[in-house]
């Protein structure tokens, strides 16, 4: 069933997913963006993931769990990396809606992102701003 975006409340959790950032995932990401850096942890954790791979994972749940419709635009992104993440770590990615408003033909959703490691330590915070076309999307005022 299509999601009624007008009914999403600020403060509501919109995604909570756990992902293994394994070697294949990181390699696929690095190939897709062309990043050739291979940094190794100073603490013996091994090969480190590009920080934007963590950011991309954190957005995966938002895109899928919110069933983001075609024509949606990503207009703003804030990221704060708290520590380097090693390949092979499992990450808990949570997203909470902090704004849901309509301006003209667009619905603006602002989502706070939080990523923690397996011990519950924060590795990344973020804020995404996306614009959904109001017409043709369930729950529209049009």
């Amino acid at each position: 069933m299509a999601l009624d975006y007008s009914k999403l409340q600020t403060g509501e959790s919109v995604s909570s997913q756990s992902y293994l950032l394994d070697g294949d995932t990181v390699a696929a990401y690095a190939e897709a963006v062309g990043d050739r850096h291979e940094l190794t942890s100073k603490d013996g954790l091994g090969l480190l993931a590009p920080p934007m791979a963590v950011a991309a994972l954190s957005l995966r749940g938002v895109v899928n769990d919110l069933a983001i419709p075609g024509g949606t635009l990503h207009v703003g992104q804030e990221l704060e990396f708290k520590r380097a993440v090693a390949v092979g770590e499992t990450l808990a990615c949570d997203a909470v809606l902090t704004q849901n408003s309509v301006r003209g033909d667009w619905r603006f959703l602002v989502v706070r992102l939080k990523v923690e490691d397996g011990d519950g330590h924060r590795v990344m915070d973020g804020k995404s701003t996306i614009m959904l076309p109001v017409q043709g999307v369930s729950g529209t005022e049009a």
Partner: protein, 136 residues
């Protein structure tokens, strides 16, 4: 690295094949990126790259400039201003605007952006990173 220094630019040719790889890697299959027929009917007239794929060039630039300190303390604030199409060449660029000394470290405030071959701003924003004194 000091105030006024340029960050090492990163240049990439964007292809539809890369966009589809990014869709698989990120799990973002929005048809505006991967469905040519759908995208042709959009305001963009064709597929466009994921904003986060283009933003990755900025993180790569910051990694080149600040190495692991970027992974551990980096902050980015970005606006996606214009679409990037397959066939475009993008360049990530930046400049150190201010350096603040703190207890045992230096905080670098940088303006960053990504422009296309037509000098159009695809992304604008700011990046901040904290580096222990002596590292850089």
């Amino acid at each position: 690295m000091e105030q006024g220094d340029s960050l090492p630019s990163v240049q990439r040719l964007i292809t539809q094949e890369q966009i589809e790889k990014y869709a698989r890697a990120s799990g973002d299959f929005n048809p505006i990126h991967v469905d040519k027929e759908f995208a042709a009917t959009s305001q963009f007239g064709g597929t466009i790259a994921h904003g986060m794929k283009i933003a990755a060039t900025l993180s790569e630039m910051m990694t080149e400039a600040f190495s692991i300190d970027w992974l551990e303390t980096g902050r980015l604030k970005l606006r996606f201003r214009a679409p990037v199409y397959p066939g475009d060449t993008v360049t990530a660029f930046g400049e150190v605007k201010r350096v603040r000394k703190r207890d045992g470290s230096r905080e670098f405030f940088c303006s960053v952006g990504v422009r296309t071959q037509n000098e159009e701003a695809a992304i604008t924003g700011d990046a901040t990173v904290t580096v222990p004194v002596g590292d850089r």
